[in-house]
Each structure stands twice: as C-alpha cells, then as structure tokens.
Point group: C4
Chain length 230, copies 4
C-alpha cells in the first residue's frame, strides 16, 4: 500500500472509474467510488457516464454530507451513493468506498438468503483480517426503490457484522471499502473474484463452505416457479 507517489484524488477517481467500467462494474452510469481527502470526501456526480468522468466534475463533501465544493456545471448533483459512502467512512473509518453493479455480486445475492459465505479459497486472504481457512461472510440487505433509502439498512449491517468490509444489496450490487483507496480497490477485486468463484462452484455442484450451503436462496427460488434450465 506504500511505495507509490501521492496522486490527486479527483484524477484518481476518474482513472479508477474507467477501470471499473471496463470490468463491467459501472456501466449504464451505475456504480461509483469516493475517496476521502482529509476532512473532505470527493465524489463523482450522479447519472454521468463513469468512464468519461473529468476531474473538474467532482463534488467535495464534508463528513456530514454537506457540499463543500461543487463543479461549475449547475445541472450536476452529487452521486446518489453519497449517504451510503459516508456510512462506511464515518462508522468504519474507510478512506475510500467502491460501489459496483457487477453481475457477479447480483448473482451472489440470488444464490444466498441473508449472508454470502465462502471458505478455503486463497483470495479470502486479500480481505483485511482474514485467513485462507476463515469463513468469509458478507451480509445481504434488501434493495429499495431509491438508493438513499438503503442507508439505514446499510448502517445496521455494518454494525451487525463488525468484521465485514462489504455489504451486498440484493438484485443491485455491492458496497466495498478499505482504509485507503488501494485497500478498497484490493477488497473490491477480491470480493468480486470470490462471488464469481462461488457462482461457478454452485454451477458445478461444489459447496462454497466445507459445511455445505445451508443458507441457499436458490433452493426456495427453485421451488417457486423456477425452470430447470442449465
């Protein structure tokens, strides 16, 4: 996490957003990232194409969410994720938060009921505090019609799962954070890899934890109108 030159956070948000777009995490103007810079949090505007962001378009928010600085364009509003980003920053001391619409995250929320869980995969070690043979758990909260209405459920999940660095949102995506942007990005990559691995394991009939998959949303989904398509 060291050995790198200091980078301008606004330029970094643009660069990371392009990278997340290419990974399929931020298409259709979805997804996002914020970076804390001292007492300010830099966030991108809402509803813009994430791979075409420009550093001059950033908002700077205070830790209570009030707007400290804004881009010249009067039509821009701060990302709808802002209140959720601030939960991870204020409760967990996150230095950066990433929101992804990755299909891997969405599919994971359709295969697990209330918690995603996986163990004994090397990439688990990429999550701060976790070992290879720990059981990695990610809470799943239900989606709401408006993104800002997720904030309370996100806060509850963060408090109920003090070791998690991510919260999945059913049929929506995932919020991931870390102590600084490099760690948040590493976490986002590891979680996405683990969601993908779990989907492939399920497809091949392999349980994702050694105790088996007791918490399995697809079982009930299959009971209620599911087709037996491969």
């Amino acid at each position: 996490m060291t050995g790198m030159p200091q980078e301008d956070p606004a330029a970094l948000i643009c660069e990371l957003a392009r990278s997340f777009y290419a990974l399929g995490w931020a298409t259709g103007t979805g997804g996002g990232i914020c970076i804390r810079d001292g007492d300010r949090v830099l966030v991108a505007p809402s509803g813009v194409q994430k791979e075409r962001l420009d550093a001059s378009q950033m908002f700077a928010l205070a830790l209570d969410g009030s707007v400290i600085a804004r881009p010249d364009d009067p039509t821009l509003r701060p990302s709808e994720c802002s209140s959720l980003f601030l939960k991870a920053i204020n409760i967990r001391g996150a230095g950066a938060v990433i929101h992804s619409h990755s299909l891997n995250a969405v599919m994971a929320t359709l295969l697990y009921e209330t918690e995603f869980s996986i163990s004994h995969i090397e990439m688990i070690k990429g999550i701060a505090g976790m070992s290879y043979d720990d059981r990695l758990v990610v809470p799943i909260i239900d989606n709401t019609a408006h993104e800002c209405d997720l904030a309370d459920a996100l806060e509850e999940a963060i408090l109920a799962y003090p070791e998690t660095h991510a919260v999945l949102v059913r049929r929506h995506g995932v919020y991931v954070w870390g102590a600084e942007w490099q760690r948040a990005k590493t976490h986002a990559e590891c979680y996405d890899y683990l969601f993908h691995a779990a989907i492939e394991m399920r497809r091949l009939g392999i349980p994702t934890t050694l105790e088996g998959d007791l918490n399995d949303a697809s079982l009930s989904a299959r009971r209620t109108g599911a087709l037996d398509l491969a």
Copy 2:
C-alpha cells in the same frame, strides 16, 4: 447528461463504434449507431469494419432518409440500418440509435416468446421512466432476410409499446435509442446487462420476474428436438 464538452458527432460515432466492437456488439461489420445533429442524421457506411471507421466515411441523411452528404469514396452505401434508425428518430424523437448484435440480446430472443421481461433488478432504473420494481418489457419482432424489411415490424412494435426504448429482433440483436447519445448509450448498456442477467438467472433456475416466467420460449424449444445439455 450534461457537463461534457460538445463533441463532433462524426468523430463520436467512430469512438463509440470502437467501444461497441470491443464489447462484442459490432463484430463482423455488424451493429451500428446513428446520431442526430439538428435536421441531419449521421450514419456510418454499410459493411465496413466498425472499429476502423473514420469520420470522413460518414453519410448525412435527412429525416426522410434522403442522402444530404456522402463520403468521397463512391463504393460506400449508407448503413442498412438507416430506415430502422429513422423510425426511432421520427416516431420517438430519438437523438441517437444503437444497433447491437450482442449475443446476450440474441440469447434473450431465444428464451422469451414475444416479450422479454424482467423486474426487481437495480439496473432497470437506468432506463428512462423505469423504477427498480417496475416490470421492464422489451417487445421481440421476428427477423427478416433483409434488414430493411424489418422497418414495418419495428414501427408496429414502437407504437404498440409506447414506454419501450428498445426492440429485440429474434436471432439477430436489438435496436436501442434515447433522447441524446449519452442516454442511448446508457440504455444500450443497461438493456445488455439485463439480458445477460436474465440468461444467468434462467441458467440457475431463478425466474426473471416475481410472477415467474410464463412467457418462456425455451419450454417449447425444449419440446422440439432440444438436447438436455448443461
């Protein structure tokens, strides 16, 4: 949709076409895009490699389809999609129309009979006028041997589904539009994501709407010679 510098539409078509090629939407000279510029509609030539387009190759059409300006190369003809592009422009006031051969779109037309439908996926909110828990419907029209013969069926579908911003063409692809190019591109990305999500949900036996998948083309396909391969 704001906060961006004005861009030359011909250069923009080339840039977007390269991006769509990389996404697999426009390989084999397939797919395309048009952008309205005042009373003119800029379209690429037919049968050229979409990732190698040059701004000097564009045609300018009037809203009735007549050619206003053409490239120097006398062998070039306007895209075969032109009459379909003009339907969305003239009936719906589209500012840009995207045609994709994405395999996600083609597979969606093989899994649904007359309408693609999905609900309760966050990316539905990326389609203008739609909420997370709305049922997103995309009409499917049957393909024809010649692309220009699709125009009447496309017009009928546009009129019959006044809320749609896309029409699927069975075993062929999809036409997607929006009020301006940014919105058309956002729509194209959201629809493609939703087609992909639906295919993965079907594969795992999860219905794509909460009422279940009543309109399921694969059921009859499986009755007529289908193999039970996974």
Copy 3:
C-alpha cells in the same frame, strides 16, 4: 471493404495478431494470419508470441511455398500453418487466411461429429454468399500430431465443401479465409460468434438448426464415460 487507405501488409499482420491475441485466438504462440501481396504471401514466424510480432520478422513466400524473403534472425522459421494457408490461397483465391485456436471453435468440434451447422442467426449473413435462413455448414477434419500433416485433409474438405470459407480442425481450432484481409477478418469474427452462439444454444437445450441437431457428437461422448456435470 473499400474506403480504407492502403496499408503495409507486414504492419497489418502485426496489428491483427495483437487483436487476435486479445480475443483469445492466438495465445501461447498459437494461431496466425497470412496476407497475400501480389505474387507473395507474407507470414509470421513459427513459435513467437503473436502479440509481440514486429514487421521485420515476416517471411515472404511464393505461391508454391518457397521462401522469397526472410527476416535477418537466422533462428526463425516460417509459420507451421504455411502449407495450410497456401491451400486456401491456391484453391480458393484467398487474399488472407486466419488460423485461430479460439475455445469456441474447439468446443464446436466437440459438439458436432463431421459438420458444424447452424441456421437462422443474423450473423450468418456476414459470410460471403450466405443468407439469414441458409444452413451454414463448416466441415470438421480430424487433428494430426504435426500441423503440416493437416494439409491433405484440409484440401479435401475445401474441395468437398465448395461454399465454405472455413474448415474446423477437431480439438485444435479453425482456418478461415476471404478474398482480401477485411473479408477474412469479417469471416473469422462471424464464424467465431456463430460457434459461440451454438455452444450457448446447446447449453440451454435449443437446437442450432430448425431440423434439430441430428449430427451431435456430444451424444456419443456422453455415452462413453461422460459425467453429467452442469
């Protein structure tokens, strides 16, 4: 196929090889391309990393396969595909030939016995002489331990299937050609898309031609030791 500036064929081979590497058609030093330039055929060396080719590394062959010009590096030999490339050039008048190790091509040869076939998919129109509702057939020849030993079987398949622009090689890949490099590239992209579509259709139990899949290698494979894994 027109409207483009003349390009240096050696530089073009390098550029296309980088693109094919990115598509997964030419990893592990596999795959290749040749371009005819008058009475000479330019081919890359054997066993080099295709995404790192340099125009100075090209061989020029006569139409009988003899070496007209060679790179300075004495350790380089012409591509092992050369005798196969020359079959499509001499028998069919191809201006360029592409050899791909795409996994889509390899999987297609495992799902069909002697011929790949598909109909009623729009991208079929991308193959010269084919319509949307034609049945596209690609002959499959068996692989040999040495690539040069494929030449006779390739010639037989070319002669037996006068309308094909491609020959699949079982458990190996595909050879695709066209009248000039743009057409060869378009063909390669369309065939690869169609192989991919067929695999996905099979996975979902949808026949790839309207008559059903009578010629189905996987049926016998499943009888001989296959696992019923999804």
Copy 4:
C-alpha cells in the same frame, strides 16, 4: 523465442504484470512473476497492486533467496512467492516463474483430485516436450494458510513429476515456469487455456482424456452436500 530485442527485466516484470492483471490472473494484489537475470532473480514486492508496479520497486534476490538489492521504500518486502519461485529456478533451471490466481486454475483444482489431466487438445503442444496426443498431467498440491509453507510440497511435486512445468495449488492457483520468460509466458497461457477447456468439457459432459475422467474430485464433492445446480 528469439528475434526480440533484449529487454530490461525489471521493466518487463511491470509490463507482464499489467497484462496478467488484465487476464484476471493477478487481481487483488495476487499473482506474480519473477525473472532470472544471471545470478540474480528479480521479484516484485508483496501486497502491491500488480498492474501499477514500477521498475524501481523490484527486489533482486540471490539464488539462495538472500536479498542483494532492494527498493528505496523501506516498507516494501519481497513477494511471498519468492521461496516458491526459487524452487522452480534451482531444481528445474527455470528462467522465469509465473504465479496466477486465475479462476480457471482454481476451478480445475476443484474438479480433479490429485492430478489435472487432459489429452488430445492442440494447445498441449505449447508445453515444452509435449505432443498433441500426450496425456498432459499437472500435479495438485493442497493449499496452506501461509504461502511460504507451500515450498516443501511444491518441491516434492516438482521432483515427483519430472516432466511438468506447472504445479496447481488447490483452491489457490498455479505456479508455471519455463527456460526463459517467453517460454514461461507461453506455458502459462497454454495451461490456462487447457484448464478452461477442461472446465467447459466437464460442463458439457465430455471427458478430458480418452480414458474418461477417473480422477474426478467433483464426484465426491457432489456426494457431500453439493447442490444440483446448473
């Protein structure tokens, strides 16, 4: 393997690491590569983002693992893979070793018990010493909580399988090597392709060797709590 200009090994490690990141082999700071340069072995630091490496961050190790030269940044430590890299260098004379977390490699270790095996796929020829119809075998060792604890098991596998150029690590990834960096990269690409091919073959019920898949970890996995999801 010839015909290329000499490249600076530190710059080459950075370039290859970016490429491996894009392939999904080195996300989440995972994966790695070392290159031998005379009596020194250049390795990247541990825990840094592999697509953002800088040549000034490299360590130089002696063949006994002692640090000869190190980057200025005092917080950096050599890659945790170093002791494993040195096994392939010292026992097999490797000139470069690649460690990948590719999901294809991980899934292969879940589908095979003690050895991955495949035969009759053209890309097998990309592995030094192998023919198309040889049975390619890759030993699988069990993962450990700490990467350095893998060294003994890796050495045993290298000695027990004198023809292999790779060792799979269950639920973790793969180590691949070659006589020089080009060969190591070619091997890594061919092995990854073969792992991917095997997974797809299994999914479609096709055995990966002509004798069938006797050594099949998924059979027992399916007996112990596996879901029958496709």
